[in-house]
């Protein structure tokens, strides 16, 4: 069990990639990209876990108790914002693609390669 959460991250990564490769719809492609990125959240938060550690907030605890790693949580927060930004941008591309091509299938888009 010592590396179960890391294996979960690898599994999510593989699933997301499978979805990207087999996708026939850009919206699905974008969602699969989010899945791939989700594996990085799991990976980040998992590597910083400390057994028995509390959340890294000292408002109501005295002294320096053992906490989980706050750095990976900060990184994950940054990561989430990056994901929101990239997803929104891709979604706007997909809207335009649908207007220009009348389809969201990546195979059909390829025929109009610029």
């Amino acid at each position: 069990m010592a590396c179960f959460p890391f294996a979960v991250a690898a599994w999510i990564l593989a699933c997301g990639l499978y979805g990207l490769v087999t996708s026939r719809d850009l919206i699905r492609t974008i969602i699969c990209l989010i899945v791939v990125q989700s594996s990085t959240y799991v990976m980040l938060v998992a590597v910083g876990y400390v057994t028995g550690g509390i959340a890294p907030y000292f408002s109501d605890v005295a002294g320096h108790p053992k906490t989980v790693d706050p750095v990976v949580q900060a990184l994950a927060l940054t990561d989430v914002v990056v994901e929101a930004a990239v997803t929104a941008l891709l979604a706007s591309f997909a809207i335009q693609a649908h207007k220009r091509f009348g389809t969201l299938d990546p195979h059909d888009l390829a025929e109009f390669k610029g």
Binding site: A9, L13, L17, L20, V21, T22, S23, L26, T29, L33, V36, Q37, S39, T40, M43, L44, A46, V47, G48, D69, V71, V72, L75, T78, D79, V82, A85, V86, L89, L90, F93, A94, Q96, A97, R100, F101, P106, H107, L109, A110, E111, F112, K113, G114
Partner: protein, 617 residues
């Protein structure tokens, strides 16, 4: 002086924010908008010039928010200025300034978004070059990426840009998430994000699987950005459709930034821990050669002007990778000079293609054949830049390539370099001869390629009568800059400074001492102080090879233009006709295919690295 470190990133960001906030006010004041944007880009270039001048004498570190490392643990984020980091950022800022001048009153429809996105791109670029922290590197990489995706889709009324931007964004994002996974892995092991601290933490331990996996994953995003085969498919789709000023940055620096990132991560973080320098060098050389050859072949059969230049960039990226992949100081110095020289001439070529599009409303080589005679100045600049691309002495490309060949010694690398330069530069020279001088016959029309090239509408709306000075001056200045840089590097002291910088770049222990403090390791100069100059100079052999290459490129161009008149080939289908079918199959434009190649390439590289590490425990 230290204040320049944050300012090179923050000045373009603040300007971008101001332009966006004042968007309604600027809608009618286009000249002001252009002026502010050009001034911001130029001021970044000046500041980077100062940083570069200081870094040549002495490397330095800047700690944000004043958190200096405590007990060897980096608490905050640092920027590290060394000559190559500052130099590459400077090249980027110069190209950005040129692109901004070129696009003076270029787009007439949308307000300040274009300028703001370009400046954000510039900030990402400088931040990426100077970052001394792997996660910070990732953040600026993503910032540059997001701005680049948006800029690619700048003309959403056409089909190509949307398809290109989607392919670009999806493949590069997948690459970036691999990078992030690699960062998480190395953080889990070392508990550090600072490059020097990670390197120290790995020091002295045997290279386990984790180190190798983290290294390969971190460089995956960079390999995609650097368009290394088989991670390169997105590039031609995106470069062909992005607005011309944006292409200048994509081809001139963005691809090279990917390679810089690989070199930085290898030398500052993982190099010593992985070891096996010979085998790792072979892997880089193989990837470089594969990329250079693939790019050159694709380039030769292309008729879409911007796409042709994009493939030539892929070919050159392979050569840069091979130069760095020698893992020698001279190879790295050569690659750095080659990158700078290439950036100048490639940017000039793209800008000339932009002028062609502006004046003649096409980028289709077949259609343009002979029609470029109306643009004699543009033709002259284009031809000169194409010769520079071929490595004509004394362009900086000549000396850069010469140093790499000197470092490699005679062998297959020489042959590969000569051949690829001949093919890629030959294709560009063919365009110069055919389009601007009307030599030979128009190339045969490939219906699909013609359709792609004709899809490209003009990017500008008015003023097609003559070429504005703001359009022709930047490429001319850039070509002159490429020449001047080459002449400058011929001065023995300058050449020696390049090699000294490369020695510093490759000295991981000294990097650690500079960033985290502590004494310089024995046998190394004090932290930050340059190495004693070494002798990097011009050999007669390299001049001869360069001249042969240029002659070969001219021959390739001539053969392509006149092949129908050659007696033996008269009945053939033309050079590269059979290749087209194969290439179509790979360069399919389906993003699912590109992801498949990415995964396969990564798995193959992983397999190779596994064998290398486990064979020599």
């Amino acid at each position: 002086m230290p204040a320049l470190f944050p300012l090179v990133v923050v000045v373009p960001l603040l300007t971008a924010a101001a332009l966006l906030a004042a968007r309604p006010l600027l809608a009618r004041r286009r000249a002001l908008l252009d002026l502010v944007a050009v001034a911001a880009a130029a001021s970044v270039a000046v500041m980077l010039g100062f940083l570069l001048a200081a870094a040549i004498r002495h490397d330095s570190v800047y700690w944000f928010a004043g958190f200096r490392p405590a007990g060897g643990v980096a608490l905050g984020i640092d920027f590290v200025a060394d000559p190559f980091a500052c130099g590459l950022a400077l090249v980027g800022a110069v190209l950005m300034t040129a692109a901004m001048v070129f696009s003076w009153r270029y787009f007439e429809r949308v307000g300040s978004y274009f300028h703001a996105l370009m400046l954000v791109f510039l900030a990402g670029l400088t931040g990426f070059c100077l970052a001394g922290d792997v996660f910070d590197l990732f953040v600026w990489f993503e910032l540059m990426g997001v701005a680049a995706y948006a800029l690619t889709a700048y003309r959403p009324e056409e089909r190509g840009p949307i398809q290109g931007a989607l392919t670009f964004a999806i493949t590069n994002s997948v690459g970036a998430y691999f990078t992030l996974t690699g960062i998480a892995l190395i953080y889990g092991r070392t508990g550090a994000l600072n490059m020097a601290q990670i390197a120290r933490s790995l020091d002295g331990r045997p290279p386990g699987g984790l180190v190798v996996v983290a290294f390969l994953f971190i460089i995956t995003g960079l390999l995609v950005k650097a368009a290394v085969v088989p991670f390169h498919f997105w590039l031609a789709d995106a470069h062909a459709v992005a607005p011309t000023p944006v292409c200048v940055l994509f081809s001139g620096v963005m691809v090279e930034l990917g390679l810089y990132g690989i070199a930085r991560v290898y030398w500052s973080v993982f190099g010593a821990a992985i070891g096996q320098r010979g085998a790792i060098s072979d892997v880089f050389l193989f990837l470089g050669a594969l990329t250079a050859i693939t790019g050159a072949l694709f380039c030769l059969r292309e008729r879409h002007l911007k796409r042709l230049l994009a493939f030539s960039t892929i070919s050159h990226a392979g050569m840069f990778l091979a130069g760095f992949g020698l893992l020698t100081p001279l190879g790295l110095a050569g690659a750095a000079l080659y990158v700078a020289g290439h950036a100048m001439v490639k940017a000039a070529l793209f800008l000339c293609a932009g002028i062609t599009l502006h004046r003649l409303h096409s980028v289709n080589e077949t259609w343009l054949h002979g029609r470029g005679r109306r643009l004699p100045v543009t033709g002259a600049v284009f031809t000169l830049a194409a010769l520079g691309l071929a490595g004509l002495p004394p362009f900086a490309t000549f000396l850069g390539k010469g140093w790499i060949e000197d470092s490699a010694g005679p062998g297959w690398l020489d042959v590969m370099f000569t051949l690829c330069s001949m093919l890629a530069a030959g294709a560009v020279l063919r365009v110069a001869g055919g389009v601007f001088y009307g030599l030979g016959d128009p190339p045969a029309e490939d219906p699909q390629m013609a359709a792609e090239a004709n899809e490209e509408e003009g990017e500008t709306e008015s003023g097609r009568r003559r070429t504005p000075l703001t359009m022709i001056v930047p490429p001319a200045v850039l070509v002159a800059g490429g020449l001047a840089l080459g002449c400058l590097a011929l001065v023995p002291r300058v050449g020696a400074a390049f090699e000294a910088a490369a020695l510093r770049f490759e000295d991981q222990a000294a990097y650690g001492a500079l960033v985290l403090g502590g004494p310089a390791p024995p046998g190394h100069p004090a932290p930050g102080v340059p190495y004693p100059p070494a002798a990097a100079d011009v050999t007669l052999t390299s001049v001869v090879i360069a001249l042969i290459t240029v002659a070969g490129a001219l021959a390739v161009a001539g053969a392509a233009l006149y092949w129908r008149r050659l007696p033996l080939l008269r009945r053939g289908r033309g050079p590269g006709a059979g290749l087209t079918v194969v290439i179509r199959r790979f360069q399919s434009g389906v993003v699912n295919d590109y992801i498949t190649w990415l995964v396969l390439g990564l798995a193959a590289l992983g397999g190779v690295l596994t064998v290398i590490i486990s064979r020599h425990p």
